[in-house]
Each structure stands twice: as C-alpha cells, then as structure tokens.
C-alpha cells in the first residue's frame, strides 16, 4: 500500500481515528506521518542526545549552580549552556572553556575521569607531550626520593630542568 499523502513511499503507519463518531482511516509513510504530526503520540525519539541531556541536567534535578549555568554562553560560537543541555552537542572548541566547570561534572559522570591519557597530535602536540613527560618524571622523582636513591633522583631532576627550559 502506498502512502496517501505523498503517493510514492510505502505506507507503514496505519491510523484509525474516530472524530465526532466519524471513522477515518489513514495510511501514511513515516516521513509524511511525522510531517503531519501524526506520530506525536510516540513522543520524542529515543536518541543519545536526549539520554545525554538527562545526564547533563541531572535528570531534571537541579544541580548546584544550575541557574547561573543556564545563562552561560560561549562567546565564540554563541552556544548557550541551556542549548547544550538540551542537545548534548557542543558548538566549538571554546565551549570546553566556556562551560569548563559544568563540563567537569558531566565528563566525570560519563567517563569516570576528566583528564586525557591517550594520543597527542604528532605535529602540534609537542607542548602537551613535554608536560605529560614532566608529570611522569615528577611522580618518579617522588618515588625515588622515598626509596633514598639520591643518584637517580639527581638524574631525574636534571631531566626535569631540561624539559622545563623547553617549555619557556
């Protein structure tokens, strides 16, 4: 059966309506049914953004500072926090700074953590790589000091100084 509306696509939505005692049957394709609003009864589609939205807004509960957050806006792309909370989509790289405090809590809920530990771009990521190496060396330094391995500590300290110079 072909859709009554467009006459082209197959009808997959079959509706029987009784209005003022008059029975009316409708056979539509999904697109036309959606366009006419006949699928309204099914509500919002079940999608990742709508699920994400409930995490961002804390399932409709008000999280601390929610009132102020809603008014936040990314000055680069113009996305507001309220829009982000509705769609689950960020607008540009600057949104990550504009909504930083709120995003921390969202990211922690999604990923259990908020700090990247993976790949760094090879051409432009030099600084990030150096900083990561510095963090690693500082942790190692603390360990060898505890173990009283002072010769090793001196080597690590020299390497840290070298890397710090690179960053200046």
């Amino acid at each position: 059966m072909v859709c009554q509306e467009c006459g082209k696509r197959p009808a997959t939505v079959h509706l029987t309506q009784i209005i003022n005692g008059q029975k009316r049957e409708l056979h539509l394709c999904e697109q036309c049914a959606r366009a006419r609003g006949e699928l309204g009864i099914m509500g919002e589609p079940f999608t990742i953004p709508t699920l994400l939205s409930s995490i961002i807004t804390d399932g409709g509960h008000t999280f601390p500072g929610a009132g102020q957050a809603a008014g936040l806006r990314c000055d680069r792309c113009g996305l507001t926090y309220a829009e982000f909370a509705r769609t689950g989509m960020l607008g540009c790289r600057h949104c990550y700074q504009a909504f930083e405090n709120q995003l921390d809590s969202v990211l922690r809920r999604l990923h259990g953590t908020i700090v990247h530990g993976g790949k760094v771009p090879s051409r432009t990521g030099e600084e990030a790589r150096v900083k990561r190496e510095l963090n690693r060396l500082q942790e190692e330094l603390a360990q060898v000091v505890i173990r009283e391995e002072y010769e090793k500590a001196a080597q690590i300290r020299d390497r840290i100084r070298e890397l710090e110079k690179k960053l200046q």
Partner: protein, 354 residues
C-alpha cells in the same frame, strides 16, 4: 578511484574469512573523532564553514592518496551521489545513516578495499574509521592512527592537553576513539545466555547493540560490542580491555555452540538444513527473514554441519547483498518492497548456487 566499483561490489575487505576468530568475529573497527581547530563544530556550522572544511580536508586527503601504505583514496562529496548510492554506503557500514540523510556539505574519503573510510562533516569534522576482517583491533588501530598522523600533518586539530581531542559530543572527548567488534552470537542466543552476557558487558563499561533489527530484537544474532568511555585511559588500554572482554564472549559463544551440538545435534542439524533449503529455494524473501536464515546457515558452516558448497565469503557478502539499497543498485532502478523481496530471493539463490 572508481566509486561505482565499490558500490556494485558486495564484497568488502572485512568479509575475508581468514581473519582471526572469524567463526565468531565478523569484523573489528576503530573510529577516531577529530575536529579542526578554527572552525565551529558541524552541529553549529553554516554552509560556508562546511565548504571551508571540505577544502582543507581535500588538500590533506591528497597526502593520504600519495601515502604508499594508506593510498590510493578518493574523496566523494555526498551531494554528488544519488540517494541510492548513499544508502548502499550505509548498508556497507561505511557511512552512518545520519551522514547519508543530510548530504549537503558532507563527504566521504574511501580506500578502494574499504578498509579505510573517513566521514567528513558528520557529527565531528572527521570520523576516521578502519575496518579489518576477524578480530584485529590492533591492526585497525594502526591504520586509523597512521591516517590520523597523515591528516594531522596538514590540519590543526582541536586538541587540549587536559581534555585531549575535543569533540562535538562529550561522550567522545579524550581519545575520540571507539573500538568495536562485530560478532555473530547464535549459540548464546539459543541457550538463552545472551542477555546475561550483555548485562555483564555493560557493567564493564562496554556497550552492546544489535546490528540488524530494531529495539530489543536483534535479527541475525549479530551484535556490536564497543567501548563506552573515551577519556582517561590510552587508546591501547581501551583496546586491551575491549579485546580481553571480547575474547571471553568468543569463548562463551564457542562453549554454547559445543553444548548445543552435543545435546541437541539432530534439532540443530534440522534447523540449519531447513534454513539452507529455504535460502536455496525461496521465491520471495524479506530482509528480516534473510538475515535470520543467514544466521542459521552461517552457524551450520562454522560447526561443520554444512561442509561444502557454501563458502563463508559468499555468506558474508550476503549481509550486504540482501539489503534493500544494494538490491536496487544491482537491478538498476527503484523497487517496491514486494519486488525487492522477489529480487532478493533470486539473488540469494544465484549466489549460493554459484
């Protein structure tokens, strides 16, 4: 590169049956989400921004094309393709339905053997995907990573030291990576353990979805297992976790198959041979029925019940060849569902008798 050759060919590189664990694992895939630094993300991009991204990516793709390991590749603008061609790309799992439905300002970069595929201006500016036959997540990661490096030679990515690669959706931030393993799990489904296994996977931070069919019912017992989180651990750690868990699922599936074979051999053989008989003889076949019967026949081949006449490669190809878009592409015109069902039955008979 000739796109039509890709579209008319129901074979893709992941269908090669020589991949590791290919009795259970159909393919492994790694996807990297990347965005350019100075352009707003596709969610807020105007036409002009999209065209700018396309121009920048086009130049970077020339480097991919020249790369001896990765190339040659072709870049195809989606609004230059017909609806049907885009649908076939979706059926081959090369682009997402979302990408196909809104073709303006969007493109796809493809290697002829389809083992590398990059969506341009989908949810993120770039979605670099690599696909391998069987369980070869590391291989997929190496290819995706190599393509990423080549593209990054020209493009400045939106990256920050603390958050990693910045993505449109916060579910992808960090590595931007989604590893996934496509598995055929008829054994677990038949012994009624599938749900139990899937709920355990959820607790380990992995997501499972049925690849065909809607909602809770998965036709064909084909499932995709993938990592849910992308921030924190390194790419290698994420993949190691995914691999370890998939290996367990594979072992469970094999156990279930062995148990079925030893306890209900006759019923199992009957089911397999009936499915094969229908595929070989039916005159009308819906895609839903085709995928159900496919699952039984594939199981029969993997368990040595059907020992000759059905190459696994031909079976794998049917996963694409029985989809509505592909059938219409081969026939060369739009078909009503009833006509498609007849063409599908004919195509299956032809392929299996070959």
């Amino acid at each position: 590169m000739n796109l039509d050759e890709v579209l008319y060919n129901s074979h893709t590189s992941w269908m090669d049956p020589s991949g590791p664990d290919s009795d259970v694992v159909l393919s492994a895939r790694v996807r990297l989400a990347r965005n350019l630094e100075d352009v707003v993300f596709p969610s807020r991009m105007e036409e002009e921004g999209a065209q700018r991204v396309l121009r920048m990516v086009e130049r970077a793709a020339e480097d991919l094309d020249r790369d001896p390991e990765l190339g040659p590749v072709g870049l195809f603008r989606l609004d230059d393709l017909s609806n049907l061609d885009r649908q076939v790309l979706v059926e081959k799992h090369l682009i997402s339905p979302h990408h196909a439905q809104q073709p303006r300002g969007r493109a796809v970069i493809l290697r002829q053997d389809e083992s590398l595929c990059i969506m341009v201006n989908e949810e993120d500016h770039l979605r670099i995907q690599s696909l391998t036959p069987g369980m070869q997540l590391d291989g997929a990661w190496r290819t995706a990573q190599a393509a990423d490096d080549v593209l990054e030679g020209r493009l400045n990515y939106a990256f920050c030291q603390r958050r990693g690669y910045l993505t449109t959706c916060p579910t992808n931030v960090g590595t931007g990576m989604r590893g996934s393993v496509m598995m055929h799990l008829p054994g677990l489904a038949m012994v009624g353990q599938a749900r139990q296994v899937f709920s355990a996977l959820g607790k380990l931070g992995l997501a499972v979805r049925g690849l065909y069919g809607e909602g809770s019912e998965a036709h064909g017992n084909i499932f995709q297992v993938s990592n849910q989180t992308s921030l924190g651990p390194s790419e290698e750690e994420i993949l190691r976790n995914l691999k370890a868990v998939s290996t367990q699922v594979i072992a469970h599936e094999r156990n279930a198959r062995r148990a079925l074979l030893s306890q209900t051999r006759l019923q199992l053989e009957d089911r397999v041979w009936r499915a094969y008989g229908i595929l070989l003889n039916a005159r009308v076949m819906s895609s839903e029925e085709a995928i159900k019967l496919w699952s039984d026949v594939r199981l029969g081949v993997d368990l040595g019940i059907i020992t000759e006449g059905v190459p696994v490669e031909a079976l794998n190809e049917l996963l694409v060849a029985t989809r509505p878009g592909y059938i219409q592409k081969v026939v060369g015109r739009d078909l009503e569902p009833a006509q498609r069902d007849a063409e599908r039955a004919a195509l299956i008979r032809h392929r299996l008798r070959r």
